[in-house]
Symmetry: C2
Subunit: 160 residues, 2 copies
């Protein structure tokens, strides 16, 4: 199954990773959340090839995750900004960061710390249940499938 | 730069995505969080090729994200379980799910709902500042870089 086919599954995780679940897209998003807006900055900080970078930026723009904004008319030059759809990917980046800091760190401080503007503290954002306010881990969650998704999964079991 | 090189960067996001930031790894993790443990179930539910699946499982086992557990001696058969390192990837999967539900849904209910065992409610976990208890989005966060990481980024600017 190709990446394109993943985007057609009912599962919203499959759909999401088909669009933005590759290492270079995540590196571009990291750069944008660190404040980079220009092609050359993405190129230098991610160390991607310009061909690869150009392809990913076009895809993200077509999807609506980023938009181009002209900052010079002569010569024509554009920079890239996150849209609301793009800003909404922040939890994905933070989740990767926290896992990397915890499990793949080299004993030094995390290279980037997150400051919560609201309270001014260095923070480690946690997945929390908005209903009761408790932090949640995998062990606190149970998945409930819709009947149509359950049917789809049973069909996959019967027809491998 | 190859995926292997990403794993050598100081940035913990780069390190994390070098190990688990590809669509097939995320699909395997989704399956495990849905309760699947066996090779054939991964194969049918993700629709990966068995070659690809086998390679990803070996990599995840070597990394310490999953472990194998024998469930039959004759014939020898193993199933796969998430380790603590693996369970700790739950926020990544949830973050992709919520973004997919919000931005790539087809208007129907999300195919999977998360129930918080603690309070019994269907929930949409949010990134929250544990210091003040407020939900956080990209707009509420400021990144602070360590001096050594800032130096590394400035060097990349000077030597493209």
């Amino acid at each position: 199954m190709s990446r394109a086919d993943l985007s057609l599954q009912s599962c919203s995780i499959a759909r999401a990773v088909a669009q933005v679940g590759d290492e270079w897209t995540i590196m571009i998003l990291r750069e944008m959340f660190l404040g980079s807006r220009r092609f050359d900055d993405f190129l230098r900080q991610t160390r991607m090839s310009s061909h690869l970078l150009s392809g990913r930026l076009k895809k993200l723009e077509a999807l609506g995750v980023i938009r181009r904004e002209k900052y010079s008319e002569h010569p024509p030059r554009s920079e890239y900004r996150l849209t609301a759809m793009g800003h909404d990917l922040w939890p994905v980046i933070i989740a990767f960061k926290q896992w990397g800091d915890r499990w793949l760190g080299d004993g030094d401080d995390a290279p980037v710390q997150i400051v919560h503007k609201g309270c001014g503290h260095v923070t480690h954002p946690q997945m929390t249940c908005p209903d009761c306010g408790q932090a949640m881990t995998a062990h606190d969650a149970r998945a409930e499938l819709t009947q149509s998704y359950e049917n789809e999964r049973q069909a996959a079991r019967r027809h491998p």
